[in-house]
């Protein structure tokens, strides 16, 4: 795995290189600044497969660097691990929202470093698999891709706050119990998603889900949030440090965001899908449930029928 580490402290770069070598990673480059990292990342030399980025740097801090890296087409899904001090909690949130996948705290711990790099390898493998699928779809000229799964995760491009399931689970796992209880998850479900999946080819279906996710993300723009599409027409938003949310205002915002999509669907003789929004869910005071459970609960809340708990569904108004 070709790694590019970015830290403005030369000794730390040398130390990291030594430690990575100890773990068997010999293809490691280091640079002392964000602009230097961008020059390598956007160049046509050896492709970087994993970035390790210090959060606190000048003049360009790690969060800004992540945003720039994600804007480079071939690094939209490259694993990015942040380096941070324990005092950087708010910066870590911002880094995840900018597109980072994981973080390691300083001082460097070998066990933690090893685990985080294994996670990066997993993301890299998933990316390679997704790339293969994408190439296959292109070759088939968007003909129905036989192995695309309706219940598989859809990775979103160009949606604010979009992350992979792995990243969201990872983020939740790293939150302490108290902080975890301060966040809430809201599930959204596209009614009749399976019919749309059968009617469209997977590429168009993914575009449709992406449009809906973008509308949802924009309706939540007042809150720091992450968003995933775990499959089966579900979209889950995680509202960070928002134990209470004004559901009515989210609904109103979503109505407004969905409205412009209506004519776009009409143009291709389709009806805009009905979206149901579930009740926000949180981890209870004595809850020991993991992040996957929180996401699953949000999905179930959105999928449940009107007669079963809080659930609201709406279409874009004309």
């Amino acid at each position: 795995m070709r790694i590019l580490a970015v830290d403005d402290e030369q000794i730390f770069c040398d130390l990291l290189t030594t430690r990575l070598k100890q773990l068997g990673h010999t293809q490691v480059d280091t640079v002392l600044s964000g602009p230097d990292a961008l020059e390598i990342a956007s160049g046509e030399g050896r492709a970087v497969e994993c970035f390790i980025v210090d959060i606190q740097m000048k003049p360009m801090d790690g969060i800004e660097l992540v945003r720039h890296l994600r804007a480079i087409p071939h690094h939209q899904a490259t694993p990015i691990i942040m380096l941070s001090a324990l005092t950087d909690k708010s910066s870590i949130d911002a880094a995840f929202m900018a597109g980072a996948n994981d973080y390691i705290t300083k001082p460097l711990d070998m066990v933690e470093l090893k685990i985080r790099l294994e996670m990066a390898r997993k993301i890299l493998d998933e990316r390679a698999h997704a790339q293969l699928m994408h190439e296959h779809v292109l070759k088939q000229e968007a003909i129905l891709y036989p192995s695309a799964k309706f219940d598989g995760e859809i990775l979103l491009d160009e949606v604010d706050g979009a992350v992979s399931m792995l990243s969201m689970e990872n983020f939740l796992l790293k939150q302490g119990g108290f902080r975890l209880r301060q966040s809430s998850a809201i599930g959204f479900h596209m009614r009749g998603a399976e019919s749309y999946f059968e009617m469209l080819d997977p590429t168009y279906y993914a575009v449709l889900i992406g449009d809906l996710a973008q509308a949802i993300s924009q309706s939540l723009s007042a809150f720091p949030h992450m968003i995933v599409c775990p499959g089966k027409g579900d979209i889950v938003a995680l509202l960070i440090d928002q134990p209470r949310v004004d559901q009515e205002s989210i609904e109103t915002n979503l109505q407004q965001q969905l409205a412009p999509l209506r004519p776009r669907f009409a143009a291709i003789d389709m009806t805009l899908p009905e979206i149901s929004m579930g009740e926000p869910v949180r981890t209870g005071l004595f809850g020991k449930n993991g992040p996957t459970t929180l996401i699953s609960r949000a999905r179930r809340a959105a999928q449940s029928s009107n007669g079963n708990g809080y659930n609201i569904s709406f279409r874009a108004v004309a």
């Binding site: 402290e9 000794i11 130390l15 030594t18 100890q22 606190q56 324990l86 005092t87 001082p107 460097l108």
Partner: protein
Amino acid sequence: MSGAIEKSAAAQGSVEQALETLRRDFCRGLDERIGRIEAARVLVNTDTQDAETALAVISAEAHRISGVAGSLGLTPIGNRARDIEAAIERLPDGALTPARRTALDAQVNDLLDLMEQNLLDD
């Protein structure tokens, strides 16, 4: 089997050697860091106009020291530096009262003492 063990021990020895070299490099460079912190400390204690900028210098320096020193096994220096960074982070905006200034100065002084004890000559 014994060949593999020897190889692994040699690799481990080489890592330890590399870490020791880095530790020594870090300790050799401590005088420059001490100079930067001392200069900022003087401003914090005497010039209220520049105190905020000087605090930011101390915080940034402490941040860098805590990350490197802790990772190189110089834990006491790393911990003191981390505590100073956290203390500055917790300060309300524009509220460097005499009591807070004195408390912070004592922390900075402790860190400087530790750094001086670890200084190495070129």
